[in-house]
């Protein structure tokens, strides 16, 4: 999941994103950032995160939890 944090930092144009970082508090968190993130997760982790997920998650660690749970759902199918 280190890659997820690296990409979040890249998308949000900051040096580092920690698990407690609140996504919506960044000035660079907008629909473009959201779409870039959705595209990254789909390409790297092969799962979909939805607009409902993005509305719900507050921190980077909550986002990580969504990605992890989607991956385990995909494996159990």
């Amino acid at each position: 999941m280190e890659k997820l944090y690296q990409e979040l930092a890249n998308i949000l144009e900051v040096d580092e994103v920690s698990p407690d970082s609140k996504l919506k508090e960044y000035d660079t968190w907008d629909s473009l950032a959201a779409l870039s993130l959705v595209a990254f997760v789909r390409t790297k982790f092969h799962v979909a995160i939805t607009s409902e997920d993005l509305a719900r998650v507050r921190t980077a660690s909550e986002l990580e939890a969504v990605v992890t749970s989607r991956q385990s759902e995909a494996l159990s199918v």
Binding site: D27, T28, D30, S31, L32, A34, L35, S36, V38, A39, R42, T43, A48, I49, T50, S51, L54
Partner: protein, 343 residues
Amino acid sequence: MLAVVPANTRSFVDEMENFNFPRSRSLKLKQVMGYDQHRIVDGEVCSSDLACFGMEHLFKLGLVDRDCIDALIVVTQTPDHFLPPTSSIIHGRLGLKQDLFCLDITQGCAGFVIGLLQSFMMLDQENVRKVILVNVDVLSRKISPHDRNSYPLTGDAASITVIERSEDEATIHANLKTDGTRREALMIPAGGFRMPSTASTAVLEDDGEHNLRAKDHLRMDGTAVFNFVQVDVPPLIEDLLRTAGTCVCDVDSFLFHQPNRFMLEKLADRLNIPYAKMPSNVVEHYGNSSGVTIPVAITHNLRETLLSSSIKACLAGFGVGLTWSSMLLRLGPLNFCDLLEFS
């Protein structure tokens, strides 16, 4: 095939001040999505205006005989009126013969492939020899200029495709899917009978992400549409190619609907299609004109090729509905293939 685009060019950089976002973020959006110029109708221009302009051009050049048209199919989401059908309006304005089948189809981004499917079905009738397929949308008139999600990518356009039976019996493969449970991903909520337009539906509201739009305007759930294109379109194309007994390497050109360069490149990556085989430059030059993007992609990129030779083409449209459809066919040589400016 003829595409018609408004002469009126707008640039993303000029329009950035309408968006409630920092300039640097809008410039990044421009770079990632491939936004640059788009074509927007002036004022009160309607779908039938663009369509009739294109048809008159074809009549004038002698490319179509006004009296030899057996069916007129108009695919649009922006009719001149609720009724009569836009096909009847075009029929009347052009003075076409009475012995002619007029049909409107309400479809968006899959509208070119669906219009072709309907045209082919009509040509199965013995006395239908020539079908005119018009794809046209002036959706910019239903998009808020303060909506950075949708406005920079929109474009208005029309296309006219003349379809006739050919002597050779080449097989055309196609598939089509619909999922109405996701119908709200792309929607204009107000203006129909469910929610008539009133003063309150015209009020601009912040969507929580700094975009201002009214219920009378188009709204798009960008994430849902992205996931749809990435998840549902690749299997559609793979099924089509498998059924046809062919593969990506045997297809000369993948002429897909043009939502934006970003989504098309992700789709190409997923399907292992080389970018050189899949044009993705329509949005940056003209904007996304929903059902008209495939004809614009063809006339802009393949004009010379298709006037002199034929290619094996895979078409795909995907969007509002949600609807997604693809088609594998031999395209060309065409009698005409041009892009015309409406002014």
